[in-house]
């Protein structure tokens, strides 16, 4: 099924990956693709590592992918990009948020955070580093970081046949449409620089 594109979104429970994948899927469905999305609920929500797979194309069978199959990895957190690197296809791309979230063993001083995570990624794969937190802060609301990353993703993938502003406006609450459309476009611009 070579015409199918595989997107892997990873992060830490609570970072808003689910909203991003639902906006993404809505846009892809409206563009006429067959789409499958898979995520895992349950224990992983309690600050654990989370992942969502989105696959689209002419006809999609499996809802998930295996190692070496992701055409693009979007990581909402730096170390999580390393954790899921084995799923990345050679020659594909990574969009990574320049954000470190320490896990329990790191908080407890029992392990150290890999501070060189992003430099390490850049040495292995074509990587866009997005400072979603700084962008969101400039827009006045830290909670739109996830939509900033969505903007970077759709731009990097060249998904231009979808009116993403429109899809975002249809998905988020009315009071947050303006903020999120701005966040989306700031994320798009960020990968162009």
């Amino acid at each position: 099924m070579s015409d199918v594109t595989n997107i892997l979104l990873v992060g830490v429970g609570g970072q808003g990956t689910i909203l991003v994948s639902s906006i993404l899927c809505k846009g892809l469905v409206e563009a006429g693709y067959d789409v499958k999305m898979s995520e895992v609920h349950g224990m992983s929500q309690r600050g654990g590592s989370v992942s969502t797979t989105v696959r689209f194309g002419e006809k999609v069978s499996s809802p998930i992918i295996g190692e070496g199959q992701a055409d693009i990895l979007v990581s909402f957190e730096a170390m999580e990009a390393l954790r899921w690197l084995n799923y990345v296809k050679p020659g594909s791309k990574i969009v990574v948020n320049n954000k470190q979230i320490a896990s329990a063993p790191i908080l407890a001083g029992k392990a150290s955070y890999p501070d060189d995570a992003i430099a390490f990624l850049q040495g292995r794969v074509e990587t866009d580093v997005i400072d979603a937190e700084a962008i969101a802060r400039e827009l006045g609301n830290l909670r739109c970081q996830n939509v900033v990353l969505l903007g970077s993703l759709v731009e990097r993938m060249g998904l231009t046949n979808v009116n993403w502003d429109d899809i975002v406006a249809k998905t988020v609450k009315k009071a947050f449409i303006d903020l999120n459309v701005k966040a989306l476009n700031a994320g798009r611009t960020a990968v162009l620089h």
Binding site: M1, V12, G13, C25, K26, V29, D34, V35, K36, M37, S38, E39, V40, H41, G42, M43, S44, Q45, R46, G47, G48, S49, V60, S61, S62, P63, I64, I65, G66, E67, G68, Q69, M79, E80, L82, R83, L85, N86, V88, K89, P90, A102, S103, A104, P105, I106, L107, A108, G109, K110, A111, S112, Y113, P114, D116, A117, F120, R124, V125
Partner: protein
């Protein structure tokens, strides 16, 4: 237009379209959202949380006997709890159609075992459907109700995590008008031995008819791509085979997987040179196919443990290793990210004190299924045992009784949540009282079913569909069960928790400690908002006072970290103001953030 639905949403939609009148479930990942999606349909059907899976299935059985279409949903281990009514109702057969959804969890994302519940179908002798995606989930559940009524049998509907929690496009239909079939007093609903002996014979005859149905069932279908390779598959595993072989193989897709269409399988097998059976977990199809004398390749190549994916199937059947980027040194850099109790979790204060006590006394902590299981994680480490839901007090009772018999000083402390108490924890506590062990049972009441994502339960005062209802109070209930030593404490008040634990350890009779504070994720109603003060300020560490003693780090709060300078640091955005860290700090280095 097609809708983009999860498998769980699709089952809910399909059952609704099938004219469902009644649904009952106990929440459990990955099944929970099926009933949640029915909550809003209160004008058209009744959907309820039951205290446990056995009660849920029995309630659905009652609705079926009364003449309505009924659904019960649960995670796979829940079917073990509900197995008693399931096996016997299989003899009775239905009045209104009855479908039981078993949501299995290969890979154990959120479960304590990896059982393959397809085995229940031949064991209980009931028909089974196994969808691969949301469209099938929707279409098959409608068919399952028809089969249930046509063949007079409860139907097992087996899903897995990747079917429940994956979204794909679904063409939906209209709701069929619900019907209450006439109720008749029938011997088949009264399973005395004389009736059951007759039904036992009928049960086999029913299966023969279902075998004929399976041969022509539209969910068992062949896709002919030539004779080189044939693949038989079911569930999500089938979609992985499709990814791997594409148009290079012919397929027999099995959607109804008990009883199997033996002729269809034999005909398909005869036409292909190599036959693969691709299924997740047990060699369920493979064993039955081999018993038919058909050669096939399955679990000798495909792993039977854990989830599959297209890469694993490609490696197993084609010998293709995944092509990956250079992964040298990656594993050394990645630190684990286990789930933890949330910042502000009301369980934390209790576990901090229990962990402290266990350093001084020989305690064995018998845990249960729920968020409080995370109290067993590093650094609190306050759990020794967890087997299944509702078992904490009964396992503690057996262990305590034997320890006492042999004169050992170990004390058993059982920990369970409010929903777990109503699930089967009550029964366990009855055993502690009846057989008189000095087990200490702790009920961590956070006013909601937490781990599965905020479901109402008998002590929250609301039903699934939002109606106010009797709020069962745990303390009077515990006393009514015969426990004479009961204390209810605020878990964030560490001194009270410590006092209660010390008090309980000193008793030679059954005791219960109830901690009562709402889950930090719970949306409080007005009454609760008045009762539980949540607007607490965040806390901060005064670095000049902090000695880096680690006491606050060791409460395992995700809002507290250790700086490079070996001082504690509180993330004021993440902090929920529970104050547990302030109370454990013996250097008075932690204070509420002052309002500016």
């Amino acid at each position: 237009m097609a809708q983009f639905l999860t498998g769980n949403e699709a089952v809910a939609r399909g059952a609704y379209e099938a004219g469902l009148s009644f649904a009952s479930a106990y929440p459990g990942t990955p099944s929970t959202e099926i009933l949640e999606n029915m909550a809003a349909l209160k004008d058209e059907l009744i959907a309820e949380w039951a205290p446990n899976e056995k009660v849920a299935l029995e309630s659905a059985i009652g609705a079926s006997i009364a003449g309505a279409r009924a659904l019960s949903t649960m995670k796979m281990v829940g079917v073990n709890v509900a197995a008693d009514p399931l096996f016997s109702f299989a003899y009775s057969g239905v009045n209104g159609g009855l479908v039981l959804v078993s949501a299995d969890d290969p890979g154990m994302h959120s479960s304590q075992n990896e059982q393959d519940n397809r085995q229940y179908a031949p064991f209980a002798k009931i028909p089974m459907f196994e969808p691969s995606d949301s469209q099938e989930a929707h279409d098959m559940v409608i068919e399952a109700f028809e089969v249930s009524e046509t063949y007079d049998a409860p139907v097992l509907f087996r899903m897995t995590t990747r079917v429940c929690h994956s979204k794909s496009l679904v063409k939906t239909g209209e709701r069929k008008e619900e019907v209450l079939k006439p109720y008749e007093k029938l011997p088949k609903f009264d399973l005395i031995p004389a009736n059951s002996r007759k039904l036992r014979v009928d049960l086999e005859a029913r299966l023969r008819k279902l075998e004929d149905y399976a041969e022509n069932c539209r969910f068992n279908r062949i896709e002919d791509n030539g004779s080189e390779i044939g693949v038989i598959g079911s569930g999500v595993g089938f979609t992985y085979a499709q990814e791997v072989f594409g148009a290079d193989a012919s397929y027999l897709k099995l959607g109804m997987t008990y009883p199997l269409p033996r002729k269809l399988i034999a005909d398909f097998a005869a036409k292909v040179k190599v036959l693969y059976v691709v299924e997740e977990l047990e060699p369920y199809l493979e064993n039955q196919i081999k018993l038919m004398g058909i050669e096939c390749i399955g679990k000798d190549r495909i792993p039977g443990i854990g989830e599959l994916n297209p890469t694993i199937v490609a490696k197993a059947l084609k010998g293709e290793d995944p092509v990956q980027i250079d992964l040298t040194d990656v594993a050394d850099k990645v630190v684990g990210r286990p789930p933890v109790l949330c910042a502000g979790c009301p369980h934390r204060g209790f576990f901090v004190e229990l962990a402290n006590l266990s350093k001084k006394r020989n305690l064995i902590i018998s845990g249960d299924i729920g968020c409080y299981g995370l109290g067993g994680a590093d650094p609190l480490n306050a759990k020794d045992i967890c087997i299944c839901m509702g078992a904490s007090a009964s396992i503690a009772h057996g262990a305590q009784t034997v320890m006492n018999k042999f004169g050992k000083d170990a004390r058993l402390v059982a920990t369970m949540g409010d929903s777990t108490f109503f699930h089967t924890g009550m029964n366990s506590l009855v055993n502690v009282v009846y057989n008189k062990s000095n087990t200490i049972t702790c009920i961590l009441d956070n006013r909601i079913t937490g781990m599965t994502g905020q479901q109402e339960n008998p002590s929250t005062g609301f039903t699934l569909q939002g109606a106010p209802t009797k709020e069962l109070e745990i303390e009077p209930l515990v006393r009514a069960l015969g426990v004479e030593h009961v204390r209810t404490v605020d878990p964030n008040d560490l001194r009270s928790v410590r006092g209660a634990l010390t008090w309980a350890v000193g008793l030679d009779e059954p005791s219960v400690i109830i901690t009562k504070w709402p889950c930090v994720l719970k949306k409080l109603n007005e009454e609760e908002a008045a009762q539980y003060q949540r607007e607490a300020p965040a806390y901060r560490v005064e670095p000049d006072v902090c000695t880096g003693c680690m006491d606050c780090i060791n409460i395992g709060c995700p809002a507290i970290s250790l700086t490079d300078g070996k001082k504690a640091l509180i993330d004021e955005v993440a902090c929920d103001g529970c104050g547990v860290c302030e109370k454990v700090c013996k250097h008075f280095a932690i204070d509420p953030v002052e309002e500016e």
